[in-house]
């Protein structure tokens, strides 16, 4: 019972909007996980009836290849959510490592790492990602990897700041004098303080990752057919803006609402921290 209450507390937001956002995302995750069960059609299956508007048979209609859009949206959700999670996970891990090392060791190492962070912040990440995609065949793994490797800087700074502030505290000095391993202490005090701001940064990062992946797929440099990503669905829809506007409206809307909900969740977490 206590566990459930703790979970409920963790997930409850004061802000109604954030609450709804969380519910939506959880629903989306479930829908994505159970996509094979929920879809009547294979998302890559070519059909004979193309450009059908939404109907009972096809909840979101069909695209120009006769493929069921609802199935493609659900499988697209898998892509967007996994890219979001994994890219953010990579950036958090990398950022965390750099932040800890930088804050803990200080001195030259700190200086170098922070300058490295500055330089990385100067690179427009999309350029980097585009060039990497140019050199190798674009696919979903490249995308996740590169997004992750170009968005860790914020987390690094956050973690470093936290390490620095904890380092100064008297109990750390005391512990050093007593011969206790400072590393353990740092971890025990840093982690809890750092989780929440990092979580907020992670939500922003995830939103950004989803937007970046859809932009890349839109350009043709992200997820490749036959995988359907909301971004590459928008690319296909361009030619049919007038004949079949739902092809453009629906995936775009999903990107929008997913990103919005993630931002709202971030806001909710921020509010909880500030209490």
């Amino acid at each position: 019972m206590k566990m459930i209450k703790k979970l409920k507390d963790f997930l409850a937001f004061e802000n109604k909007a954030s609450q709804f956002a969380l519910i939506f995302i959880i629903l989306l995750i479930f829908a994505a996980l159970f996509a094979p069960l929920l879809c009547r059609y294979n998302p890559a299956e070519l059909g004979t009836e193309s450009l059908l508007p939404p109907s009972f048979n096809h909840f979101f209609g069909t695209d120009d290849f006769g493929r069921d859009i609802f199935s493609r949206i659900l499988y697209g959700a898998r892509i967007s959510l996994s890219v979001g999670f994994i890219a953010v996970a990579i950036s958090v891990i990398v950022g965390f490592l750099f932040g800890i090392i930088s804050g803990f060791f200080g001195g030259w190492i700190d200086f170098l790492i922070m300058r490295f962070v500055d330089v990385m912040l100067s690179f427009p990440s999309i350029f980097l990602i585009l060039s990497i995609q140019a050199m190798f065949t674009p696919n979903i793994y490249n995308v996740v990897f590169v997004i992750g490797l170009t968005s860790w800087m914020g987390v690094a700074r956050l973690v470093r700041a936290e390490v620095l502030s904890v380092k100064e505290r008297p109990f750390v000095e005391a512990a050093k004098v007593l011969g206790l391993p400072t590393k353990n202490i740092l971890f025990r005090h840093i982690l809890p303080n750092v989780i929440e701001p990092v979580l907020v940064a992670a939500t922003i990062g995830m939103a950004g990752a989803i937007l970046t992946e859809s932009a890349l797929s839109f350009l043709g440099l992200g997820v490749q057919p036959p995988l359907s990503s909301w971004g590459n669905m928008l690319q296909d829809s361009q030619a049919y803006l007038r004949d079949a506007p739902w092809m453009a409206i629906i995936p775009g809307f999903f990107i929008f609402i997913t990103v919005l909900c993630i931002y709202l969740i971030g806001e909710g977490i921020k509010e909880k921290i500030q209490k």
Binding site: F65, P225, A239, D243
Partner: protein, 535 residues
């Protein structure tokens, strides 16, 4: 007192105006070309070069066609008619052609065009140091054609044997000797700033943006009635349609799905006509997967052309089965069709040792049946074909990856010596003569148009015979055989014969009869008028 913020704002505005003006000032100025005297064409990909003996893609050829003239040209009935040559004689049993050149042809820089320019052009094509993909067109059975002059207005072509396609090959654009004799043709600046003798002069080429031509007032057939031609490069077919609708371009191809909508446009006339084009999936025959004919045959059986064409064209294209267009007089319809048959496809692959793995992809000797299809980015029909073929081939255990490439770099890749590609969806725009030596002869690899590496001794022999036979019926038999062999071998999977779908602004008149030669055959007769007369 001036607030700091105001100062900053003011500075910003000034900087911007400066940037805008500086930018405009950097661009070359064109003569007064207006909507009333200029035709704006939409191009789907950037041209790659403006040198007729070096270019190999249709975008570049189209533009070159207005800048350069050849000895002969094609009229709207696909007949060969005089251009620079006012007449010609055939002597010596078809082994000698004498062209009598006009005396009133001038280069755009004012110099007179003579037979020495013509000889220079053809010698350059034959020059092994020049990267011309057309060389094979002028070598018969290993013996290059001899080109001679007899005074400034007589040009002679000496053939080792009678050569049926020769007249149609004389239409290639002529280059000015006086500007190129001492330059390396492959890298000359001329290729981006050409001087020709045609009805239009080159004005500017802003890469990936536009090409601008101006009329040649001294054109020997009379100055064109319009002042200029602008090619706007718009790779996205949707954007082209929007540009057409809003009048930003006057001429554009129409995607099949928009054909019906285009017919309702108030500012354009829409044309549908046959072309000498076929689109195919070409296999790199040096690739170990494709060197086995059984794999190609299996893929052919797995190709459901009905579904493909339905989804892409809805009736505006016909399925293709062989290397010639049905418009051609030598078209052979009785060829191996490889009609859609999944069971057969699977059976062939099983027999050839390609075993289905647990990941539903076939494997043989540790190699997966996986390959990449290259498509030119922006051509939506071909992009869609790739996606459809990817799905169809999945059913027989093949994994297809699709890679989009910008047009001129795709062309470059196929023409380069390394040929690092697996397969490609691309088309050929054929000439009026059935001779396709440069595409299929084994000698045309790697420096000709035979970029897939096709090599069949029977076909080689037949190609050589077909060119040197003059009798129509005899030639027809030869080419019928060639088509049968190639259709059987499936070095390409022949996909479709597209119809040309073109929309032209109603203000443009003087178009030629719609046909494979296009609508702008006599560009010098085309004029712009607000009157809405039909034509």
């Amino acid at each position: 007192m001036m607030n700091k913020t105001t100062v900053v704002f003011f500075l910003f505005t000034v900087v911007f105006l400066f940037i805008v003006i500086a930018f405009e000032g950097c661009q070359t100025k064109t003569e007064r070309l207006t909507k009333e005297n200029t035709i704006i064409f939409a191009l789907s990909g950037d041209i790659s070069i403006l040198n007729p003996i070096l270019s190999s893609d249709s975008a570049s050829s189209a533009v070159e066609g207005f800048i350069f003239s050849g000895l002969t040209k094609i009229n709207e009935n696909l007949e060969i008619v005089p251009d620079i040559a006012k007449s010609w004689e055939i002597k010596n049993g078809g082994k000698e052609y004498i062209f009598y050149l006009r005396d009133d042809v001038y280069w755009h820089d004012g110099e007179k065009l003579t037979s020495y320019d013509v000889k220079f052009t053809f010698d350059s094509i034959l020059n092994p140091k020049v990267n011309s993909v057309r060389r094979g067109d002028y070598i018969i059975d290993g013996v290059p054609i001899k080109f001679e002059t007899d005074g400034p207005h007589i040009f002679k072509v000496i053939l080792p044997k009678p050569f049926a396609p020769i007249l149609s090959r004389m239409g290639i654009g002529i280059l000015p000797k006086h500007l190129l004799f001492d330059k390396d043709l492959n890298t000359a600046e001329f290729n981006t700033k050409p001087i020709g003798s045609g009805p239009f002069m080159f004005k500017e080429w802003i890469k990936s943006e536009r090409v601008v031509l101006e009329k040649n007032p001294k054109y020997f057939d009379g100055p064109p009635k319009i002042s200029g031609i602008i090619y706007k490069i718009i790779p996205d077919e949707n954007a082209r349609f929007v540009a057409l609708e809003s009048g930003q371009v006057d001429v554009s191809d129409i995607p099949p799905k928009d054909f019906n909508r285009a017919k309702k446009l108030k500012n354009c006339n829409v044309f549908e006509y046959d072309s000498l084009v076929y689109v195919y999936l070409g296999f790199n025959l040096k690739n170990e997967i494709f060197s086995d004919i059984r794999v190609r045959q299996a893929l052919a059986y797995a190709t459901d052309k009905t579904q493909l064409l339905n989804l892409i064209f809805r009736g505006l294209a016909k399925p293709a089965f062989g290397p010639m267009s049905p418009v051609s007089s030598m078209f052979e319809s009785d060829t191996e069709k490889y009609n859609f048959d999944l069971k057969k496809a699977n059976a062939i692959l099983d027999e050839a040792g390609w075993i289905l793995g647990s990941d539903v992809i076939r494997e043989k000797n540790g190699k997966k049946l996986e390959f990449t299809i290259l498509v030119n980015q922006g051509n939506k029909e071909r992009e869609k074909a790739a996606v459809i073929l990817q799905w169809q081939y999945k059913k027989i255990g093949a994994k297809v990856n699709i890679r989009l490439m910008e047009w001129s770099s795709l062309v470059k890749k196929l023409n380069s010596a390394r040929k690092d590609f697996d397969s490609v969806i691309i088309g050929w725009s054929l000439g009026i003569d059935p001779d396709s030596y440069s595409i299929w002869h084994s000698s045309q690899y790697p420096y000709g148009l035979n970029f897939i590496g096709f090599s069949d001794p029977t076909v080689d022999r037949l190609l050589e015979e077909g060119r040197t036979t003059i009798d129509f019926n005899q030639r027809k038999r030869i080419y019928s055989q060639i088509q049968k062999i190639i259709a059987y071998q499936q070095p390409y999977i022949f996909l479709w014969y597209p119809k040309s779908l073109v929309a032209v602004s109603k203000k443009i008149h003087g178009l030629s009869k719609p046909g494979p030669a296009g609508l702008f055959v006599n560009i010098e007769n085309v004029y712009i008028s607000k009157d809405e007369q039909g034509d």
